[in-house]
């Protein structure tokens, strides 16, 4: 693994794990329209992940395939954010998770469109278009839920309070490595914080929701493989067939 390939892998892992979580809704959503919309977004996420794994594999020198990366890595080898691996919970929690990520992803992939690493810039162009739709979808639901009924406001506020601790991780320094940022291939996540906070504030200001207390302790570690316990269970399920039959080609 090189610092560049590790960066690409982290981007891919974010998209895969979030897409996987969304796909768990398929057939169980509160409205048929949301079965369709959430599957659509899941498809986008996993599709982007596939492209990102491909270029990560290439950057590694093709020592392993994308499927190998997905199905034969342990939780401690995954590089995704803690936020995206959090369980779906109720619909409010899924929407809050999605909204908090989308507000970050939309500016990340906007900037990545001009990455000096051409394969990544190409993936980012497609991803950014899709993320604009995702952000619109999650923002609209934040408005509906955050300005709907007492119950929806209370559920959404609760989700916001619970997930807030995982937001800081999106913007901390130390990953990706300075050289990957310096070469213009990666975006320094610290530079995305203000824009993200503005997007979040803009939507929340139109709802009855408030941001949690300032002194919440922020969690991080996903970029180094220090995950929450949820990821291991997600992977156990995801990898079970592929690992049970290592001889079979699918």
């Amino acid at each position: 693994m090189t610092p560049l390939s590790e960066y690409l892998l982290s981007l891919a892992d974010d998209r895969l794990i979030l897409g996987h979580r969304l796909s768990e809704w398929c057939g169980h959503a509160p409205i048929l329209e949301e079965d369709i919309a959430l599957s659509n977004i899941a498809l986008d996420c996993i599709g982007q992940a596939t492209f990102l794994y491909e270029i990560a594999a290439e950057a590694e020198g093709n020592v392993r395939t994308p499927d190998r990366m997905v199905y034969f890595r342990e939780a401690i080898e995954y590089r995704n954010l803690l936020l995206v691996e959090q369980p779906n919970g109720d619909f409010a929690r899924t929407i809050v998770r999605q909204f908090l990520y989308d507000a970050f992803g939309i500016s990340l992939y906007d900037r990545l469109q001009t990455s000096s690493y051409a394969p990544l810039a190409a993936v980012a162009q497609k991803a950014h278009k899709e993320l604009r739709y995702h952000f619109r979808h999650s923002s609209q639901w934040m408005l509906r839920l955050g300005d709907g009924t007492d119950e929806s406001i209370q559920r959404t506020q609760h989700a916001l309070n619970e997930l807030w601790q995982y937001t800081d991780e999106m913007f901390i320094g130390g990953f990706p490595a300075e050289e990957v940022i310096g070469s213009g291939a990666a975006i320094d996540p610290r530079t995305l914080r203000t824009g993200w906070r503005n997007s979040v504030d803009t939507i929340l200001s139109r709802t009855a929701l408030t941001l949690p207390e300032k002194d919440i302790r922020m969690q991080s570690g996903g970029r180094n493989g220090r995950h929450t316990e949820h990821l291991g269970h997600l992977l156990t399920e995801m990898q079970s067939v592929a690992r049970s039959y290592p001889e079979i080609t699918w």
Binding site: C26, H28, A29, R144, T149, S152, V241, Y245, I248, W250
Partner: protein
């Protein structure tokens, strides 16, 4: 008055006999309307319940490519359901009402989705057999007399064809990968063969209310004829793959040039359609739970809309 209705009905029958399609605002006999409501909503329910056995494997699909394809397929089925509920609504029944009928067990849906999916190969088997059988039923029904349903079916069949291809590709890949893969396919075939034959319904002799429906072109072929078409097609494909059809009585009839099977276990069929198949309770519970747990979300969306309709009205 009743003379008037008799005249309208005669005219209605003539239009159908001449191959015209009936549109939502046209006059139609009450029984035609109620039969269609039943038919289209049953089909819609089948799409929605049908998401569950395959949805069961989305999180375990063994490669990125398969995961994407399976998720896209199940999403298609949601789209079919959506489209069909809208078709049924043109007859004057709401989606909420149809859900109510499904959740109370009053409405039926395809018996096949009451069987569990136990192995990855089932994802191939469902595409090949279940979508395959659905295509035979639905391409026939696409010639039915009710315009909205006929158009919905044309659109749906295109996607079902794609699903079938995708399923056959899963099977072919598993078989090509060696003994282990082939054994997984055969085991799955053993479980799905008979339930798929049941999808076509009872023998024509035991199939109630067909004559009216034939006249009105909301049933176009007999169950047995469609089932036979499916059997002939599928046995040959199974043989090409080297699979064994799980029916010791299967034999080729040289005179009819067609495959004869043993008798379907109608006790099992009746149990499944009356709500006592292996997964009936499970499937309905899942749908009910999703619906009940989603109630607050739907309420919130309605409340939000109402608030903003009101505020945009006062702003004017």
């Amino acid at each position: 008055m009743s003379e008037n209705i008799a005249m309208m009905e005669e005219q209605f029958n003539r239009r159908i006999a001449e191959g015209e399609t009936i549109e939502p605002n046209d006059w139609m006999p009450d029984k035609y309307r109620s039969q269609l409501k039943r038919l289209i909503s049953q089909h819609a329910h089948s799409e929605i319940i049908g998401m569950l056995p395959e949805g069961n494997w989305i999180t375990r699909a063994p490669s990125l490519r398969r995961k994407l394809a399976l998720l896209a397929k199940v999403q298609d089925e949601a789209g079919h359901g959506h489209y069909l509920y809208s078709s049924a609504e043109t007859l004057g029944i709401s989606r909420e009402e149809m859900f109510g009928q499904l959740h109370t067990g009053k409405a039926k849906y395809s018996s096949i989705f009451n069987y569990p999916t136990l192995a990855w190969a089932d994802m191939g088997m469902i595409g090949w057999l279940v979508d395959g059988a659905a295509i035979i039923n639905q391409t026939t029904m696409a010639k039915c007399s009710y315009g909205p349903y006929s158009r919905a079916l044309l659109r749906i069949c295109k996607e079902e064809n794609f699903h079938k291809k995708q399923g056959m590709e899963i099977i072919a890949t598993l078989i090509a990968s060696g003994e282990q893969g082939k054994a997984m396919v055969q085991e799955s075939f053993n479980r799905f063969w008979w339930p798929t034959l049941m999808m076509f319904g009872p023998h024509d002799a035991n199939s109630p209310n067909s004559p009216d429906m034939m006249k009105w072109k909301i049933k176009l072929k007999g169950n047995d004829e469609l089932r036979q078409r499916f059997i002939d097609m599928t046995v040959e494909q199974a043989q090409a793959w080297g699979l064994t059809v799980p029916d010791p009585k299967l034999r080729f009839n040289e005179q009819t040039r067609s495959w004869e099977t043993g008798e379907i276990d109608w006790n099992e069929f009746n149990a499944v359609i009356s709500g006592n198949g292996p997964c009936n309770h499970e499937r309905l519970n899942v749908r009910r739970t999703a619906h009940d747990q989603g109630a607050w979300v739907r309420e919130a969306a309605r409340a939000y809309e109402a608030k903003h309709r009101r505020s945009s009205e006062t702003a004017e």
